[in-house]
């Protein structure tokens, strides 16, 4: 087989079936014309002038050699960002509680399992969104066609500048999710935070807490949720929002401190059940986990107070 045959075949390999024979014949005829003109010994240099067969084939077909082009890329990235930024945290929290409810013994394992499940979900989401956009790109649709009317652009179409926000929507939504998570954790604590022993499930929280302390918790958490929603709506640390934030945070810190120092949080039956089931360090670690969680939560509240005061001082002056 001559070099010319091999070159033509290589171009043809990258051409779609219906055009292949015709383009191959044309390239062959052009090649032979040029070889005839330059001399039979110049085949190599002629082929060099024709260049990479794959590139040449691409110029003939103008095939899309990319997955997602400029029309769709922006939309693709935006959708990906939005979906992942919601789905991943939600998945992490949900899986954490599901695994926790199944088996609350090994926190590290639960964390690793929920993180790896979330990672897998993220990969799936990424993959399927990409597949959808690759399909859109190669169906030759454009975002404008799908978006309905294709309007001619004019300066009137420019969107209004957003009001300056100190509290981003995502930050606000994260707060709402965390607050809801806290409420959910306590509300379903008798099934989420428990050990099984021979006689049935024993909840972690002391049953007496349900009389006064937990209702107070729900009251505070409800107010916090309301405050979180106002944060999203207002978007800036106005004096009123800052003041309620400080009040609520101080009240929550006070509540937590009073709770841990004056009340038995842990159900004695829970501890004795643990004693039967697991070694002594386990009980120790339950106590430690509670103390550390409380310390972290108080730290978050303190940070929230400081942050809201700093931000309130930087509040843009109204014109």
């Amino acid at each position: 087989m001559s070099l010319v045959d091999r070159y033509v075949a290589e171009v043809g390999r990258h051409l779609p079936g219906e055009q292949r024979a015709d383009i191959e014949a044309e390239i062959r005829s052009n090649l032979e014309d040029m070889i005839e003109d330059s001399g039979e010994d110049k085949v190599v240099s002629v082929l060099k002038k024709f260049g990479d067969p794959e590139l040449l084939a691409r110029k003939y077909t103008q095939k899309k050699n990319y997955l997602i082009g400029r029309h769709w890329y922006e939309v693709y990235m935006e959708v990906l960002e939005r979906v992942l930024s919601v789905a991943l945290p939600v998945s992490l929290i949900v899986w954490f509680f599901i695994k926790f409810a199944e088996d609350s013994d090994n926190l590290t394992r639960i964390l690793i399992q929920s993180a790896s499940t979330t990672f897998n979900i993220g990969i799936h989401i990424w993959f399927w969104i990409t597949v959808v956009f690759v399909f859109l790109e190669h169906s030759n649709a454009t975002p404008i066609e799908l978006g309905g009317e294709a309007r001619e652009w004019s300066p009137d179409l420019l969107p209004q500048l957003p009001k300056p926000r100190q509290i981003s929507i995502s930050e606000g939504i994260t707060d709402v999710i965390l607050t809801l998570g806290g409420i959910g954790l306590v509300a379903f604590s008798s099934s989420l935070l428990r050990v099984e022993d021979g006689n049935g499930a024993i909840p972690l929280l002391h049953p007496d807490l349900w009389k006064v302390w937990l209702p107070i918790f729900f009251g505070l958490a409800g107010l916090t949720l309301l405050h979180d929603l106002f944060k999203i709506k207002i978007g800036n640390w106005t004096p009123a929002l800052t003041a309620t934030n400080i009040l609520l945070s101080l009240a929550s810190i006070g509540y937590l401190l009073a709770l841990v120092f004056t009340q038995d949080i842990v159900n004695p039956a829970f501890m004795s059940a643990l004693k039967n089931e697991t070694p002594a360090q386990m009980q120790q670690s339950v106590t430690w986990t509670i103390w550390i969680s409380v310390a972290i939560i108080i730290g978050c509240y303190l940070w929230s107070i400081v942050n809201s005061i700093i931000m309130a001082k930087r509040l843009p002056v109204k014109k």
Binding site: I23, A25, E26, I27, S29, N30, E32, D33, M34, D37, K49, F50, G51, L55, L56, K59, Y60, Q62
Partner: protein
């Protein structure tokens, strides 16, 4: 120092638009790929094979050229010639080109 790569890129961009006009203007009579390439080169415009041949097909697909296979000297060749639509377009393109040249001459003088 002149960056030769960016110089080449700009020259390539400049030429790309010209090649269409050059090819259309020289296809008043039938030419096959290599004969057109030589014709353009003789007139002073060196065009890559890899650029010219696919371009001829694109112009045909746009309806500006017509083509036919002919067998001669025992070798089949694809001959291209300007179509009726291409003939209508060519004077407008020439006028456009003359406008660009006169503007750029003024600008670069």
């Amino acid at each position: 120092m002149v960056n030769t790569e960016s110089l080449e890129n700009v020259v390539l961009e400049l030429r790309r638009g010209v090649i269409v006009l050059a090819a259309l203007s020289q296809l008043g009579s039938e030419e096959y790929g290599y004969s057109l390439l030589k014709k353009l080169a003789d007139l002073g415009l060196d065009v890559d094979q890899g650029t010219l041949y696919p371009l001829l097909r694109r112009l045909e697909a746009q309806g500006l050229l017509e083509s036919v296979w002919k067998l001669e000297e025992s070798r089949p060749r694809r001959y291209y010639v300007i179509s009726a639509e291409g003939k209508k377009l060519l004077p407008k393109l020439k006028k456009e080109w003359a406008g660009i040249v006169s503007v750029m001459d003024k600008m670069l003088a």
